[in-house]
């Protein structure tokens, strides 16, 4: 898998290169600012880009802007955004262009390396990976159709948003896969997602969830 890394902190960038390179990924470019990132994406057409939120010149949301820009010019580019802190507005801004192949994780998740690798692979394959912390914050803030969901259904939806499949969700909640399936159907019903949209309903449910 070909990866472009954009991270302005030298040590962190080297660390990511070392880690991902060691796992057999092909890190085709590791850059430190948005311009070089966009150039690298155009040049290498990577399978997935790992992008830091705070980058020069103002160290606010340059990474998000660059990711949005890259996805506009390269539709289908998978992007995993790494952030030092939870900023819900960033997640929403990214998702505005569609949730396929998108991830938003706190940087310290790199420490749980297996989960981090799973998330990266999921995103590269067109899935979603939203940090549990972001998800938790959304629960405390949002009002709307989500209020109709039961506590259990919310738990299932939160895990859906993290990008997990039915089997893993069943393991995490210690319920059967059939029960998970029932919960998901109920969620789709309450969010009024018609069966014709079946293919992308999981993603749409997550989007509903994120956008409130």
């Amino acid at each position: 898998m070909r990866i472009v890394i954009a991270e302005d902190d030298t040590l962190l960038r080297e660390g990511l290169v070392m880690l991902l390179g060691g796992e057999g990924f092909e890190v085709v470019a590791a850059v430190s600012n948005p311009q070089e990132f966009l150039a690298a994406v155009a040049w290498h057409s990577p399978d997935v880009a790992v992008v830091d939120v705070r980058m020069p010149p103002t160290h606010t949301d340059e990474g998000i802007q660059a990711a949005v820009e890259a996805r506009r010019s390269h539709p289908g580019l998978a992007v995993l955004v790494l952030s030092a802190y939870v900023e819900q507005a960033f997640a929403t801004e990214l998702l505005a262009g569609g949730a396929r192949g998108l991830g938003y994780l706190l940087k310290e998740r790199v420490g749980q390396f297996k989960e981090f690798l799973d998330a990266l692979k999921r995103v590269a394959a067109g899935g979603v990976a939203i940090d549990p912390e972001v998800v938790a914050q959304l629960f405390t803030r949002r009002r709307g159709p989500l209020d109709r969901l039961t506590v259990r259904e919310r738990e299932v939806l939160a895990l859906l948003a993290e990008g997990l499949g039915n089997i893993v969700i069943a393991e995490r909640l210690q319920i059967t896969e059939g029960t998970v399936h029932k919960h998901i159907s109920s969620i789709f019903g309450k969010l009024e997602l018609a069966p014709t949209e079946r293919v992308s309903r999981r993603v749409i449910a997550v989007l509903r969830y994120l956008e409130g």
């Binding site: 040590l11 660390g15 060691g22 940087k107 420490g111």
Partner: protein
């Protein structure tokens, strides 16, 4: 006993301060005596505004003095000084009335209050040294000639009477002396309180804004510095763990990186802590911290620290950083051989000045230490002036409001 003498010394201190403002008031009255008649024939009119400013600053000084002794007098003026309209401004007329009363009453009271203890000490000790005086020139403080031992003893006893009077009457005299100020310098009871409220609101808003700016600065420093370093520790530690599983030869270098990142995190954290409150400031106060900085300066530094009183901690920290940054800059760029640092409180303003005899040409680049100092000072609603012509000298002046 010590409480009584403590009170007496405090009263003496107050009387001396009152005498000082009374002398200023007298000089200002003299100015008005010249300007007033000159106005009648027209030529004095340009002097009216400056004289009003002088009057107001003398009155403000008295307000600050009264405030120091726990008799807080709220200034009747709005935070922004009105240029016109003094003719109808009752506060200005009350200031003028105070000027006349204080110079006429406060001056003699101050003189009496200070002379009494001096007379007391002189007469009480008279028996010890009267025989050293030339024959025929011996006498009491009041000028009564005394040539015999019984008379000398009487003078000595009268000295104790003077001392007793000054101890007993010191406080009442001091209170009497500050009475006109308390009555006339505070806003007239009929004055609308809205201006005072506006003034207090402005001060409070300034304090809150300074607090918010400081929080943002700290948040930024923690995010961009220490947190990133710690994240690097996490990433590198993960890399080391993976290397241990797959390729043990690479564990060493990965662990070196972990250590490097952790050390950098510590350095960053130490920097943030120092930038919030330097330990030396917490331990030794502003005067002590400044003398430590001055002693560390590469260029010999004359430090003069005046009366500081009680300062808010954030003001102390800002003053400290100003001086530290100025001395560092001077050491790096000025080629000066001599530095002068002064810090003193003037009423409700802490003034800090740093001057060198170097080559000048200092300027604020974006992101430079000087720009940082300006931001800090302005967050406290203070002023920062830097003059540094080519050829020198460089002079930096910072004024920080420190009403507490």
């Amino acid at each position: 006993m010590s409480a009584v003498t403590g009170d007496a010394f405090e009263a003496l201190d107050r009387l001396a301060g009152g005498l000082g403002t009374a002398l200023l008031a007298l000089a200002t009255v003299a100015g008005w005596v010249v300007v007033g008649p000159a106005c009648l024939i027209g030529i004095g009119l340009p002097m009216v505004q400056p004289m009003l400013s002088v009057t107001r600053s003398v009155a403000e000084r008295e307000r600050a003095r009264l405030g120091r002794w726990g008799e807080h007098v709220v200034s009747p003026y709005p935070a922004t000084r009105p240029a016109k309209g003094w003719r109808t401004d009752p506060a200005t007329w009350r200031d003028l009335a105070w000027l006349a009363v204080h110079s006429a009453v406060g001056l003699p009271l101050g003189l009496v209050g200070i002379t009494l203890p001096i007379m007391g000490v002189r007469d009480a000790s008279f028996p010890l040294w009267w025989h050293l005086l030339p024959e025929g020139e011996t006498g009491s403080s009041l000028g009564i000639p005394v040539h015999t031992w019984p008379g000398v003893i009487a003078v000595g006893l009268s000295g104790f009477v003077w001392l007793a009077i000054s101890i007993l009457c010191g406080r009442p005299i001091a209170r009497l002396q500050s009475l006109p100020g308390r009555r006339l310098l505070s806003p007239h009871p009929s004055v609308d309180l809205s201006e005072r409220v506006a003034r207090l609101t402005a001060t409070r808003a300034g304090a809150l804004a300074a607090h918010a700016a400081e929080l943002r600065r700290i948040e930024r420093a923690l995010h961009d510095g220490a947190q990133n370093r710690l994240l690097a520790v996490v990433v590198m530690a993960t890399a080391a763990k993976r290397a241990l599983e797959r390729d043990p030869a690479n564990v060493g270098p990965a662990l070196d990186r972990v250590q490097l990142a952790a050390e950098q995190a510590l350095t960053e954290l130490r920097g943030v802590v120092r930038s919030i409150l330097p330990p030396i400031l917490a331990n030794r106060g502003l005067a002590g911290a400044l003398s430590a900085v001055a002693a560390d300066s590469a260029i010999p530094c004359d430090l003069r620290v005046g009366q500081l009183g009680h300062l808010p901690l954030s003001v102390e920290a800002t003053a400290y950083f100003t001086v530290a940054e100025a001395l560092t800059n001077a050491g790096k760029h000025s080629r000066a051989t001599r530095l002068r640092v002064e810090a003193a409180r003037h009423g409700e303003v802490l003034r800090v000045e740093v001057e060198d005899n170097g080559i000048g040409g200092a300027w604020e680049r974006g992101g430079s230490g000087l720009a940082g100092i300006r931001r800090r000072v302005e967050a406290h609603d203070g002023t920062f002036t830097l003059t540094s012509p080519q050829g020198g000298p460089t002079r930096m002046k910072v004024e920080l409001p420190c009403a507490s």
